[in-house]
């Protein structure tokens, strides 16, 4: 099993969608929320994802395709 520590940033139009629930059910990815701040306008969730490598890849690709921004929790690594 592999792990990913990521931040999901949700735009306003996706706040009401059960993205994390669907991710865990549709892709066999265990989601473990550590920090979050969600308002009616937008929100972010810091979470750890655990699963088989291909499930994680497919799950993250699906979340991204829905319009959620997915970043490594450590932030951007490429510096000037």
């Amino acid at each position: 099993m592999a792990k990913r520590q990521v931040t999901f940033t949700f735009p306003q139009e996706l706040i009401r969608e059960p993205i994390i629930y669907t991710l865990s059910h549709q892709f066999k990815v265990v989601t473990n929320i550590r920090r979050a701040d969600v308002s009616e306008n937008r929100g972010w969730v810091v979470l750890e994802l655990e699963g088989e490598e291909k499930d994680l890849e497919q799950g993250i690709a699906w979340v991204t395709s829905k319009g959620v921004r997915v970043d490594p929790v450590i932030g951007d690594i490429v510096e000037g």
Partner: protein, 407 residues
């Protein structure tokens, strides 16, 4: 022996032993080095620090290293009184901290020197980073000095000319066929798989420490006092927070009076997630897609954005974004008033300084320090239009006719 006692989570306060680790296992927030300041206060003094080497390592007692340091001659760069620029901007007490004058031409030598020293202490034989310029050059140079292997990851669309200043130190240079985000993702995977010291991932708490020396030096160079105002650039926000921390620690140790410095953060308008959050009154920094010529500070998802914002707020400072045109004007103005050729990030600082002074946010008589963190020659294409020579024939008549001077 250092006075570092643990790594501590900046959010929840949980502590971990000093090790190569950057995130809290519980809340996934960044870790920082925690010190025994009481013991430290017993050994440091102005006299002892001032008697140290003319480099950042005169502050060794305030850093987290244990043994021999990896030093290529970094720090104690000039703090110059910028009277010409000050006159131009309407500031009577303006100073420039010229950190272009480090061995690889940017402030990155400070954090990298600490990080590589720690990497060697932890037993790594290989260090790595992902960068398009300043960080990569510094990592490769320090690896060369430390006889360590280095890997540098670069997005494949970076101009080949930029890679010369990295390749000269002979790292393993890897261009990744993908976007910046793809490189980010690849590096997080690599750090899981390989036993390497990744400078801004598993060594990040130590990497962060080096930038505190910017704050220490400025205070010492001002005669042991903190400035009234600081203007500094922000990419990840890490160095901005550490300049503040450096000043704060000196105060805590009784080496300077309580700090009342107003911290002003500057970013390029094409990549200004921290400024956006400040202006929106938010404490959450929403990522952006960078679009600016100031590549060295173009970070869309800044890891320390939240903490940089807190420093801005707590210090009664501010945040200011400047356009690419304004930053180019800033680069030219600094060169043509103070003789300092900075990279685009320095142009951002001067552009922000101009706005802050013009609007009266920074007052004429406030002691202000602007941090110029990188030199211009590595990215001189940003101002290549400046080259407009007179073309003359090799005779005096032609020279006097074309250039328009007469004896």
């Amino acid at each position: 022996m250092s006075y570092a006692r643990a790594l501590r989570c900046r959010k929840c306060g949980r502590e971990y032993p000093v090790q190569p680790l950057s995130l809290c296992d519980f809340c996934l927030s960044p870790l920082e080095v925690s010190y025994d300041y009481k013991a430290m206060a017993g050994v440091v003094s102005r006299e002892k620090l001032a008697g140290g080497p003319l480099s950042m390592w005169r502050y060794r007692d305030l850093l987290s290293v244990e043994g021999e340091v990896v030093d290529i001659g970094t720090g104690f760069t000039p703090l110059v009184k910028a009277d010409n620029l000050g006159r131009e901007l309407g500031l009577d007490r303006l100073y420039i901290k010229n950190d272009c004058l480090n061995p690889t031409y940017s402030f990155k030598d400070r954090p990298v020197s600490v990080a590589v020293t720690k990497a060697r202490e932890f037993g790594f034989d290989t260090i790595a980073c992902a960068s398009t310029g300043n960080l990569a050059a510094s990592v490769a140079a320090h690896a060369a000095k430390a006889n360590m292997k280095s890997y540098v990851f670069v997005p494949s669309n970076v101009e080949p000319g930029k890679l010369v200043g990295i390749a000269i130190y002979n790292p393993v240079l890897v261009t990744v066929d993908g976007s910046y985000d793809d490189v980010n993702r690849l590096c997080t995977r690599i750090v899981e798989r390989y036993n390497w010291g990744f400078i801004n991932i598993n060594l990040r708490p130590y990497y962060a420490e080096g930038s505190k020396t910017l704050g220490y030096e400025v205070a010492e160079q001002l005669g042991w006092r903190a400035p009234d105002c600081v203007v500094a650039p922000a990419a990840s926000g890490l160095s901005f927070t550490r300049i503040w921390q450096g000043l704060d620690e000196l105060s805590m140790l009784g080496l300077i009076e309580p700090v009342n410095t107003h911290m002003y953060l500057s970013q390029a308008a094409g990549s200004s997630p921290i400024v956006n959050a400040f202006q929106a009154g938010s404490l959450h920094v929403h990522p952006v897609a960078p679009d600016t010529i100031a590549k060295s500070i173009a970070i869309g998802n800044p890891a320390d954005g939240y903490y940089a914002l807190r420093v801005v707020r707590q210090s009664g400072g501010g945040a200011c974004a400047v356009t690419d045109e304004e930053l180019i004007n800033g680069m030219k103005l600094l060169a043509q008033t103070e003789g300092i050729f900075t990279e685009a990030a320095g142009g951002v600082v001067v552009g922000a300084l101009r706005k802050l002074a013009a609007s009266g946010v920074i007052k004429k008589n406030e002691l202000t320090v602007a941090f110029i963190t990188g030199a211009g020659p590595r990215t001189q294409e940003t101002v290549s239009d400046i080259v407009q020579p007179f073309t003359v024939q090799p005779c005096l008549e032609s020279f006097e006719e074309v250039v328009g001077v007469r004896v």
